[in-house]
């Protein structure tokens, strides 16, 4: 049962965060931080299909995470979901066309090992 929760969490988190990145990139760099401009940005983003999709996916991930925590320890849940770093970095390279050089791969690898050690 807990592996079903982990599969749902990993899939929903990965899809949600990649969609969020696509939605924000399509919106473009936020440069104006005055309240009116932020309000307009929020209004524009709330109509973005990618941003709406990412919010739904993250809500699924959140409730699956709460479900996982009722049957598993935090020290199991956190490292098990760190696999999203690998999946999202791969998608960032092939889907978002980011230049993931060896420094970024090495950095992501160190972070995954570190998260596992901190939480195990």
């Amino acid at each position: 049962m807990k592996w079903i929760f982990i599969a749902i969490i990993v899939a929903a988190t990965t899809v949600g965060e990649v969609m969020q990145a696509v939605g924000m990139r399509r919106h473009g760099e936020i440069k104006d931080f005055r309240p009116g401009a932020i309000g307009r940005a929020v209004a524009a983003l709330s109509r973005s299909r990618f941003v709406i999709g990412s919010v739904i996916a993250m809500a699924v991930s959140f409730f699956a995470y709460l479900g996982l925590l009722t049957i598993a320890d935090l020290s199991f849940a956190v490292p098990a979901t760190a696999i999203t770093y690998v999946l999202e970095t791969i998608l960032a390279k092939y889907l978002l066309k980011e230049q993931v050089n060896w420094l970024r791969w090495a950095g992501a690898g160190l972070v995954i090992c570190g998260v596992a050690l901190v939480s195990l």
């Binding site: 969020q20 420094l103 050690l117």
Partner: protein, 135 residues
């Protein structure tokens, strides 16, 4: 071009700091205010009006907004490892404010995370994609 990349880097550092601090302290206050159990569905709503929980929720909303702002220019493969420094701060906040012990294994993990964050944040530019080509 160098002033442009310096501007983007400074903006990235400021925004990433807000992302990390709002996440760490949002979760900290949420945990601080959360009762031992939530027996009824109504208690899930009522707990939102507990002051520490409310502060935690406000900070987590700030976290969500600042993370989206950061992603509006920075790469996902940059934001992911760099904001992982939050795991380190959670351990340190737990040590200082909740008097939790940090065993050797956790220190080893902290060192690895800091090394990973340093590699990505100091070694690579925040944005590698062409903003004009994104549409």
């Amino acid at each position: 071009m160098t002033t442009e990349s310096a501007r983007l880097r400074a903006k990235t550092w400021i925004c990433a700091t807000v992302v990390v601090l709002s996440n760490v302290f949002g979760n900290f206050f949420l945990k601080k205010g959360m009762p031992a159990d939530l027996p009824t569905p109504w208690s899930y709503i009522a707990v939102l009006f507990q002051p520490w929980v409310a502060l935690g929720v406000v900070l987590l909303i700030l976290w969500m907004m600042s993370r989206m702002t950061l992603l509006s220019w920075a790469d996902l493969s940059y934001v992911l490892p760099v904001t992982a420094i939050g795991y380190v701060l959670v351990a340190i906040v737990g040590r200082i404010f909740l008097n939790e012990q940090i065993p050797l294994k956790r220190w080893a993990g902290i060192v690895l995370i800091v090394a990973g964050v340093a590699l990505v944040s100091l070694g690579t530019a925040p944005r590698t994609h062409n903003p004009e080509a994104a549409e």
